[in-house]
């Protein structure tokens, strides 16, 4: 037997502040983006996935990069030199998903940008970037924001709590967080775990939160959360199947430096004002694709059989012409069958279009379907109390 996707051995792996807890909980630890991370715990990926959709799961996402950016007067305008998102339109305490783009309109990374507002007399943004892209991103940002202050938060842990029971479980520790709106962000200065930064967001399609706190507080907080019977630990395996069901992109797979935000079906993240004004890297290509349509588009697809079209699987049309490639594929624990995302020629991207996957030398029929595969259940109706 051979594992087709065996990760390369790496002896220089970094550990997160929760490493000891993962091992104690019986996690299968694997190399991921330079870190030793839990793939799954003894109950397995499917159980963790289903628990997240029905209750709540704790994910260690401390491997991701966190940083603060400030500029004396207008840090949002400075950030807008690098991303197509409408950052100036963000009010303090609100956050947005956007992308760092290169001069060719490709995606250097995707990120969450939160408007902190004024702190110590300066205007600040907080952002979270992908683990594997930290160094590239921070050097890129530093180079293009000469007069700004960029402060990587290397001693902060990041813990995601995701699922319908997340608000109830987290509010025991941070009262009031249940009233936060989806895509809002707040700093809470005095908690049993010191100063924490909470955002109501996540990567599973469920309601949930991400909590940034000092590394030396992370284990105590994680253990306290896990005392709640609704909260169980979940690893990278479940995180990947959850985000795929939610139709969300994984950097380095569904998006990279060659794919534009428009091709990646992320045009919704480009604000109206930015479409008119431009002024971000790769605007020529991105605005052109918004106007004329891209040549290829990221779509969701399902095969008819039980064989999963994995990353790299070639996609053909009814005439046998190659029309694209799969960028993410997995068995969907919620739906009970395989699902896949990938790029196809734009004229083949309509829902219902038949496609053929070439899996291990055999033609497997399937079709283009709407994203997300599993409906999002974000807390869009939660009301802010302040």
């Amino acid at each position: 037997m051979s594992d087709a996707q065996q990760p390369p051995a790496d002896t220089q792996l970094k550990r997160t502040p929760l490493h000891g807890l993962h091992v104690e909980l019986g996690a299968k630890m694997v190399p991921f983006s330079g870190y030793e991370m839990p793939l799954n715990y003894p109950t397995g990926i499917i159980a963790e996935h289903k628990h997240t959709r029905s209750q709540a799961s704790l994910f260690d996402v401390s491997h991701m990069g966190q940083a603060l950016l400030s500029h004396g007067s207008d840090v949002s305008a400075v950030m807008e030199r690098l991303v197509p998102g409408d950052i100036s339109g963000l009010k303090p305490g609100r956050m947005r998903y956007t992308q760092l783009t290169n001069a060719d309109g490709g995606i250097i990374d995707d990120l969450m940008v939160s408007k902190v507002g004024e702190m110590d007399g300066r205007d600040w943004l907080y952002f979270v970037i992908n683990a594997a892209r930290k160094e590239v991103d921070l050097s890129h940002i530093a180079t293009h924001t000469e007069d700004a202050r960029l402060e990587p938060l290397e001693s902060q842990a990041l813990i995601a709590v995701q699922g319908p029971a997340a608000a109830q479980a987290l509010s025991k520790h941070f009262p009031g967080c249940e009233a936060m709106r989806f895509m809002s962000f707040r700093a809470v200065a005095t908690t049993p775990y010191g100063k924490v930064w909470i955002s109501r967001s996540g990567y599973t399609g469920e309601d949930g939160f991400e909590v940034s706190l000092a590394a030396d507080q992370a284990e105590a907080f994680a253990r306290a959360l896990l005392e709640d019977e609704t909260v169980k630990p979940a690893g990278l395996g479940a995180r990947d199947t959850l985000r795929l069901e939610a139709g969300l992109c994984l950097y380095g797979h569904d998006i990279d430096e060659t794919t534009s935000p428009v091709e990646a079906d992320l045009a919704w993240s480009i604000g109206k004002r930015r479409r008119v004004e431009g002024g971000f890297p790769g605007a020529d290509r991105i605005l052109g694709e918004l106007r004329d349509g891209p040549s290829r588009l990221r779509v969701g697809m399902t095969p008819q059989g039980r064989a999963t079209p994995r990353e790299g699987t070639e996609i053909f049309d009814a005439e046998g012409e190659r029309i694209g490639v799969v960028t993410s594929g997995a068995f969907s624990p919620t739906l009970g069958h395989p699902i896949a995302m990938g790029y196809v020629a734009a004229d083949e991207a309509t829902t219902g279009t038949p496609v053929t996957f070439q899996i291990r030398g055999k033609a497997n029929p399937g079709q283009v379907v709407d994203l997300p595969f599993v409906a999002h259940r974000y807390a869009t109706k939660a009301k802010a109390t302040s």
């Binding site: 037997m1 996707q5 499917i46 064989a307 997995a330």
Partner: protein, 125 residues
């Protein structure tokens, strides 16, 4: 009297006369995690030792299952495609993959005994 032998790639073959029943070891199913699909060969397929015989898919990845010895596929476990989770529950019993008519019994000597396989697993991470 049956004899079970293992490959370094974690297939087993349970030998009964000229027939070998092939599947993946308990260690292999533990490494794979939840099995969600098994692709079996056609009856009558001729395989050489180490040829691809079947494919087992977990949530995360697809893995090839190789023929421990040369032979002809005489039977496949038709219960597996509908109940792939049996591979996790009883890999070395109910969830066998195929039966082979063994072409060269001498090839069995290239495989590990149960005790040798147990020692081999201890050398792995």
């Amino acid at each position: 009297m049956t004899d079970i032998r293992y490959t370094k790639e974690h297939e087993y073959i349970r030998v009964d006369g000229d027939t070998g029943t092939v599947g993946i070891s308990n260690h292999a199913q533990e490494q794979l995690g939840e099995v969600v699909f098994v692709e079996l060969p056609e009856i009558g397929k001729q395989v050489a030792q180490n040829d691809e015989l079947a494919v087992v898919e977990s949530v995360k990845a697809a893995s090839e299952v190789y023929a421990p010895v040369s032979g002809e596929v005489t039977e496949v476990n038709t219960a597996l495609p509908d109940s792939p989770e049996k591979v996790n529950a009883d890999p070395e019993g109910e969830a066998w993959f195929v039966k082979l008519k063994i072409a060269d019994k001498g090839e069995l000597d290239t495989l590990m005994s149960a005790d040798e396989y147990k020692s081999y697993l201890e050398t792995l991470d």
